[in-house]
Symmetry: C2
Subunit: 237 residues, 2 copies
Amino acid sequence: MASTLPAAIVFDTFGTVVDWRTSLIDDLSAYGAQRGISADWPALVDAWRAAYRPSMDRVRKGELPWTRLDDLHRGSLDRLVAEHGITGLTEEDLVHINLGWHRLRPWPDSVPGLTRLKARFIIGPLSNGNVSLLTNMAKHSGLPWDMIFGSDLFGHYKPDPETYLGVAKLLDLPPGRVMMAAAHNDDLAAARNCGLMTAFFPRIVEYGPLQNRDYAADGPWDYVVRDIEDLAAQLGA
Amino acid sequence: MASTLPAAIVFDTFGTVVDWRTSLIDDLSAYGAQRGISADWPALVDAWRAAYRPSMDRVRKGELPWTRLDDLHRGSLDRLVAEHGITGLTEEDLVHINLGWHRLRPWPDSVPGLTRLKARFIIGPLSNGNVSLLTNMAKHSGLPWDMIFGSDLFGHYKPDPETYLGVAKLLDLPPGRVMMAAAHNDDLAAARNCGLMTAFFPRIVEYGPLQNRDYAADGPWDYVVRDIEDLAAQLGA
């Protein structure tokens, strides 16, 4: 347990603050039914998420120039729609489906916990999503961010250090006064290497039946808590 | 009157949303009294603000590399303290005084008007202030921004087009779906040249007895209103 409090807390978003899998499955299933297009939407969602990290790694390794997550998502979607044999989708449909990432729903503790934390700390997402995605998501779900740290502000994806250190620089804070909160141990390890404080809470159903990691903290994190409301309680907010 | 509504509204901040002159005079006068340091604080504040645009112009013209507004403010403060013969200020005092720009108070209509607008539009400051200044100001005064567009996100000061167009790019909106709101006609002229919508409302006591401009709209702005609450009313928010 750290002896000092942070001035700012930044949150991983996909999985940590919002339930991307259930949200997208519900969103696509309803849209497919409305449009009369049948598909195994859960399988598409799982494959889409599986393409997430490899697509960012192409940017991180320099194989692609800087590309926003919305555009990486669209590239993966186009490929997967073909691979899964889904037919009948128009360009308008594909645009709508791709923006499903802007319409993700928060976990039940997210809005109440963030609202409590906001009264005492600067809060924001530090996400691989772009600013427009994260802004639209916040408006859609009532996430009460003070500032939105999209990856396009830095031209880098996590776990590149430019992201964690970029938050500290923009807030004019030493890295040690910024806390990274995430349900993913690897994100916290990268943040800690940059000198940030860390807080972990599990989201054990994030990947549904495919979950195979991050059931518990596996590093020396400053705070290990139950969820965002518990984080607020532990930090006296 | 424009026929379409914006998706996002960005606000000039110093003078438009917050009353920098009265806030700083009160802040410095109280601090000077507490520290037993006498000075003509109103004169210092007016001289400090007069140094604002010339200091940014040195960056805009390339005479200085990118320098955050906090640091431009500090450079001007150091020079003016000497010129005004103010003695007895420690480094800690100067840091505190310089952060007075983070503690500016909103005009009475700002928070209620922004709160109404936030329910319907994406709102943010588009200010020459840096992100940390604007974030701290929002926390201090309860400004309910969705996203903070500090000049350090763009490495440019208004009226450089990179600022206005940078907002549209980060929000993934055409410039014509973004509205610039300001109490300064020159800011709106630059925004309009970039294709943004525009809204003007006057702040006729911004400069106190030194006010000599911006009593009224002097361009073809999309909306000319009384204040931010009136803007919310005109936009149906």
